[in-house]
């Protein structure tokens, strides 16, 4: 009888080893089998030619697929223009909000993962998406309103490479200064208010490494010896100076906002009285009755120019084209511009904006000539290669490391 027990124990243990080992072997095989092709696909696209450059875009818009998945900035998919679109085209819109360009890049990994169709990326994300092969060429003949876009936005170098368009320009706007009208009866004229000890503990700025460019922009006026010309192309010395400015600012900052609604709460509750913002927050706060206003100080401002880019693996391309055609029409451009507080790319939007909200065309500068916008330094991805041919500019990954050190 003893040997029966002995063998039973051994059999039980052996069974367990088999039960454990079998799944482990399967796991190993699955991971191993998947690793080989995956690795090969991933190492492509590291050169300076966009990997999807030669993909032929579709020549006509077919029947809508019934759904459209967008990655958008908060406020870019409002019911005001989404509902009519859904009714007209039958494409149900799902919006996934992202608070920063890097988040959008991350969500769009692997060509949108077969999930997302369009992303409303700003200039600092576009190039990363294009060179990463996550977006593909677009046929502008299918977007009639493209001809109405301002000339400098029809083929800008952040969404058009080698003459190939990867999306369509959308709207643009400044990163402006939001302030409480109770504390500042007159609009501040300089960004120095957000670096000033006078408002210690009542300042807020975005929690985003690209803020270093705003500091650099400030220094380009207030520390001319640094000779900063482009706030996104900084030598190590210039970069360090900007980082130091931000480190000095840190004790004065009440909170760094990551979500637009967080900044809205900060101002609504009186936690902060001045800060860097998007026009969206100003609009929301004013609508809720808060006493705030925004302005672009004398040093100028950084800004964004957004485009809708088409994902390489977009599962609903027809709905995507319908959206791009729709969102660039003058009427919808006006609606979005007034709702968000940005400037439409469509040059015919101005009169419609004034019908929606009197005076909005002028306050949002929709009637200015192209030259006016040279004062806004639009977001672009900081690269090691500077425009002047040197290779010693600080790349974005260092901006991120520095930002972690600034905020701690």
């Amino acid at each position: 009888m003893i040997y029966k027990t002995f063998f039973r124990r051994r059999r039980q243990s052996a069974a367990m080893i088999v039960a454990l080992a079998l799944p482990l072997l399967i796991a190993g095989w699955v991971s191993g089998a998947a690793a080989a092709p995956g690795a090969a696909a991933r190492s492509a696209g590291s050169g300076l030619t966009p990997p999807t450059q030669n993909m032929k875009p579709q020549q006509s818009i077919g029947k809508g697929e019934g759904q459209l998945n967008l990655i958008a900035w908060e406020g870019y998919a409002q019911p005001e223009w989404v509902k009519p679109f859904e009714q007209q085209t039958g494409c149900r819109v799902n919006a996934k909000y992202a608070g920063s360009s890097s988040e959008m890049v991350s969500l769009m990994a692997n060509g949108g993962g077969g999930q997302y169709d369009l992303v409303s990326a700003s200039g600092d994300a576009d190039l990363r998406l294009i060179y990463g092969g996550d977006v593909k060429p677009v046929n502008l003949k299918l977007i009639p309103s493209w001809k109405q876009l301002r000339p400098f936005l029809q083929s800008p170098d952040f969404n058009t490479i080698n003459g190939v368009h990867y999306g369509v320009s959308l709207q643009f706007g400044p990163n402006d200064l939001l302030y409480s009208t109770k504390v500042f009866p007159k609009a501040p004229t300089s960004w120095s208010v957000i670096y000033s000890k006078k408002y210690a503990g009542k300042i807020t700025i975005p929690n985003n490494p690209i803020q270093i460019a705003d500091a650099a922009l400030y220094l380009s006026v207030h520390a001319p010896s640094l000779k900063i010309t482009d706030p996104y192309e900084l030598t190590q010395t210039q970069f360090n100076a900007a980082v130091n400015l931000l480190k000095e600012q840190r004790p004065l900052v009440k909170a760094y906002w990551s979500l637009a609604s967080a900044e809205i709460s900060l101002f609504e509750n009186g936690e902060t009285v001045v800060g860097a913002a998007w026009p969206y927050q100003t609009g929301q706060l004013k609508a809720a009755g808060a006493k705030v206003a925004d302005t672009i100080p004398s040093e100028g401002a950084t800004g964004w120019a957004d485009s809708w880019l088409l994902a390489t693996k977009a599962p609903h391309p027809n709905c995507a084209y319908k959206w791009m055609a729709y969102i660039t029409t003058a009427k919808v451009q006006a609606e979005q511009a007034v709702s968000y507080g940005e400037t439409p790319d469509n040059s015919l939007a101005c009169p419609i904006m004034d019908k929606l909200s009197k005076g909005s065309c002028e306050s949002l500068h929709a009637n200015e000539p192209d030259a006016y916008f040279k004062t806004i330094k639009f977001w672009k991805t900081p690269l090691a290669q500077c425009d002047n041919g040197q290779n010693d500019c600080v790349p974005f990954q260092d901006w991120e490391t520095a930002w972690t050190q600034i905020t701690g």
Binding site: A15, E103, V105, A255, L259
Partner: protein, 303 residues
């Protein structure tokens, strides 16, 4: 008669024969019950962890966001660069404080629930503890902003009481309060379970031996409640180690960053997946050690 032996002519249906065969071969029963869950865990969970942890040894091409499959330890070296060690320390400290706080809050509550409350009151308390878990976690954290912010509910109350304006939102203190609140039900339930299992006879015996109330509490009840506390602490500790939503909503973005939101930022904002994976090693190591200690203290029987 040998156990399970099929009686001839009666239970000779197919099911009975299979079940008898299984009864005789314990190893087969073991394999059949354990293989599906273990297969799930190994093929999905363990394999996922391995894939993620392997990424920690790679780097990412900053321009194209593609992973470069070259072995390197640079991500782990980066863990020692300021301010990461401070962030890790801050997270562990807050997690420990939250755990202790929740244990202190939970013990009298669970004691009342387990040993004093009538069954009707106990049921009601049970529902009261579980119900907050059904009100969205996000909404509850957001509600705390309304409560703790400048001129929020807390300030309004203290102002009316003449105590001034604490205005503690966007601080580590606020995060500590919110964490203690959110994880409290996860501490109460195991402690309640442990206290409920103490037989009346133990308490009576202790009284028989001459111990007064506090002595019984100290020497009989608390030691038996300990496994429940440790089980609850697994939740409070690990949930704090990895949470990024509370620091995002109620932290200030500087000086309040925890491991969770640094990992999250590196996946999204900084798009540095290998560094995020390397940082993820830290909570994994901490929790594995914690689990081993917890198991030794008998927490696994109390969960």
């Amino acid at each position: 008669m040998v156990k399970g032996e099929v009686r001839e002519g009666r239970e000779s249906t197919g099911v009975a024969r299979v079940s008898a065969a299984l009864w005789r071969r314990a190893w087969l029963r073991a394999a059949l019950t354990l293989s599906p869950p273990l297969a799930w865990f190994l093929v999905i969970y363990l394999a996922s962890l391995i894939v993620m942890l392997v990424t920690a040894f790679w780097t990412v091409n900053p321009f194209t966001n593609n992973l470069e499959h070259q072995f390197t330890l640079s991500n782990f070296a980066a863990l020692f660069d300021a301010p990461i060690p401070a962030i890790i320390g801050r997270t562990v400290l807050i997690a420990a404080l939250v755990t202790v706080t929740d244990a202190i809050i939970a013990l009298p509550f669970a004691y009342f629930m387990a040993r004093i409350a009538t069954p009707r009151v106990r049921n009601a308390l049970f529902v009261a503890v579980l119900l907050p878990l059904w009100a969205s976690y996000l909404a509850r954290v957001y509600a705390w902003i309304i409560i703790l912010t400048k001129d929020g509910t807390l300030d309004w109350t203290t102002q009316h009481l003449g105590l001034g304006s604490p205005n503690i939102a966007y601080t580590n203190l606020a995060m500590y309060i919110v964490f203690s609140y959110i994880w409290l039900p996860f501490m109460i339930l195991p402690v309640y379970g442990a206290l409920e299992r103490i037989p009346d006879s133990f308490i009576e015996a202790s009284a028989d031996l001459g111990a007064r109330n506090w002595r019984t509490l100290r020497s009989v009840v608390l030691p038996l409640a300990l496994p429940g506390v440790v089980a609850g602490s697994i939740f409070t500790f690990s949930l704090t180690l990895g949470d990024y939503i509370t620091p995002l909503l109620i932290g200030s973005g500087s000086g309040t960053n925890l491991i969770g939101n640094v990992i999250y930022d590196n996946i999204g904002l900084a798009n540095n997946l290998p560094f995020a994976a390397a940082l993820a090693f830290v909570p994994i190591v901490i929790m594995t050690v914690y689990l081993l200690v917890a198991r030794a203290l008998g927490a696994f029987e109390a969960m």
